[in-house]
Amino acid sequence: MAVLDEIKESLMEGDAEGVKAGVQQALAEGIAAVKIINESLIAGMQVVGVLFKANEIYVPEVLIAARAMHAGLDIVKPLLAESDVQDKGTILLGTVKGDLHDIGKNLVGMMLEGAGYKVVDLGVDISPDKFVKAVEEYKPQLVALSALLTTTMVAMKTTVEMLEPYRGQIKIFIGGAPVTQEFADEIGADAFGADAGNAVEKANELIAKLTLHN
């Protein structure tokens, strides 16, 4: 399995070509696509999340690691057998109404994808209505709301309120610079993610809770 470790190393260095070459080699060695994804690409992004949270790497390194992960996924995903395709869950992601910022949201999206989730990114300035429509359309397990500013984070509250009828099926988690656990409690969100790495931990916890209850 040395090749899987090599892919993981290349991914963490943001070396997309190295990841591609490693994935090709792994396939040539007969390693199953699903194993390549779980044990090199997802495993690599998990380490990236930990290092990012610990301030050992920063935004540029996370971005090039995510790019390298995609280079690998592009090769292996088409090879997955129908039975292999089991995303950990679908997450609807968006920056709330009135807020047009997306750097943090995009990082969260990349880390969630890297953790094996299917991420539907709605973009920025997303009204509560649009979140509701997207919940109907994509049937996600989790909804992730982002806001950068004190003036726009209030739109998280109205979004959470509008999603009330769906709370049996979905869990909502929130994040962004001024957002705190206290605010999450105040508006009735299920969790708060302090950064992109922490968002993955919170998503995993929420998914576990949902599975437990359903």
């Binding site: 301030n55 047009l100 004190t150």
Partner: protein, 381 residues
């Protein structure tokens, strides 16, 4: 002691008669038009039309009457627009748009929008030296920018006010990111070092030429040169210290040394977020003043900052947290927060009172008044 003497004394790390107060002397130490309107209504000083100082952030130009009433020591001095560019808006069903002189497209929601945010980055597809060479950048020395600059400076000088001179643009790293788009630019830093250096050098050169001409005009009349470069996020730096030292610091150092060679004014840098790890580098690069001292970000404890760096850098900002206390706190909490920040940051000078970043539309005017009253009550040396 007039306002200018008060500010200079504090910038020289000595104690003036009271803590100098800035509101609105830069586009990152100001007040949003909505908060301004609420505040002037409360003070019974309503204005027919609020003048806009910064279009993107919808920051107001406070009236001279208001600034005097609340005891603000600083005044802004800004260049005019280049003759090559005018502000033109367009609209669709949802947004209002404009394109700035760098070619960056901004938009604001029509329905209760607070600010303009970046929508299109003009160099998103340009990542080669050849593409860079062919790109049309603004002319920093266009004469129209400097029309009347010295006269306006003289007016404020005569009044004894302290003058903060604005830049023509965002910071060096900021402009790299705004021209290329954040994700492209951050990946450029890791993947395309040669191109990134060339792009940042180009931006540096434009800024240097601007400062040369501006400081030739008014370098003898101003007290502060306002620069910026956002290097921090809420919990960390945006890029590693190593990457900062490799790509950005040499340009900061050259630019700030150049500015120092042209004027006695102090170099002010705005850098949001958790930037404590880079403060020694900023000091080494020639930064005299750090803004906004974002108290709520990681490792930005003002006690520690004052102790470690207070002798070498002036804190301009950090007067009150704007992520929770100013918009959401009680009047007592606002008063206590201001008192505490003054106790921490004022001793020995080296402190100019300002909120952490612009005052946003969600700040109750009563809280703002409580802040001003607390500053007057506790701000005397």
């Amino acid at each position: 002691m007039n306002a200018r003497e008060r500010l200079i004394t504090s910038l020289e790390h000595r104690e003036p008669d009271r803590v100098p107060f800035d509101l609105g002397a830069s586009l990152i130490t100001g007040i949003h038009k909505t908060a301004y309107k609420n505040f002037t209504d409360l003070l019974n000083m309503p204005e027919k039309e609020v003048k806009i100082f910064d279009v993107v952030q919808q920051i107001s130009t406070p009236s001279e009457e208001l600034l005097r009433k609340i005891g603000v020591d600083t005044r802004n001095l800004s260049p005019l627009s280049s003759s090559q560019w005018t502000l033109n808006y367009s609209e669709d069903a949802e947004y209002r748009y404009f394109t700035d002189e760098w070619g960056i497209v901004w938009r604001m929601p029509l329905d209760n929008g607070f600010y303009f945010d970046m929508y299109k980055n003009p160099m998103a597809e340009i990542d080669t030296l050849e593409g860079l060479a062919n790109y049309q950048f603004p002319d920093p020395t266009d004469d129209a920018r400097f029309v009347g600059l010295r006269q306006r400076a003289l007016v404020e000088h005569e009044k004894g006010n302290a003058i903060v001179l604005s830049s023509m643009s965002a910071g060096i790293m900021e402009l790299g990111a705004w021209l290329r788009g954040f994700e492209n630019f951050f990946m450029d830093l890791a993947l395309r070092p040669e191109f990134t250096r060339a792009l940042l050098n180009k931006v540096y050169e434009i800024k240097r030429q601007y400062w040369e001409k501006a400081l030739n005009e008014v370098g003898d009349l101003i007290q502060v040169v306002q620069e910026a470069d956002d290097l921090g996020a809420q919990n960390s730096l945006l890029i590693s210290p190593k990457m900062y030292r490799k790509f950005i610091k040499p340009l900061h150092k050259d630019l700030f040394e150049f500015i120092h060679s042209k004027t006695k004014a102090k170099v002010f840098i705005h850098s949001c977020g958790a930037v404590s790890d880079l403060i020694p580098d900023l000091i080494d690069s020639g930064v005299d003043i750090l803004n906004p001292v974002q108290l709520s970000a990681r490792n930005m404890d003002p006690v520690k900052l004052k102790q470690e760096f207070g002798k070498d850098i002036v804190f301009w900002g950090g007067g009150i947290d704007t992520q929770s206390i100013l918009p959401k706190g009680s009047l007592t909490q606002v008063r206590e927060a201001v008192k505490r920040q003054i106790e921490i940051l004022a001793p020995g000078g080296g402190f100019v009172f300002n909120t952490v970043h612009n005052i946003q539309p969600d700040v109750p005017p009563e809280n703002l008044m409580a802040m001003v009253e607390a500053l007057h009550e506790f701000g005397n040396y």
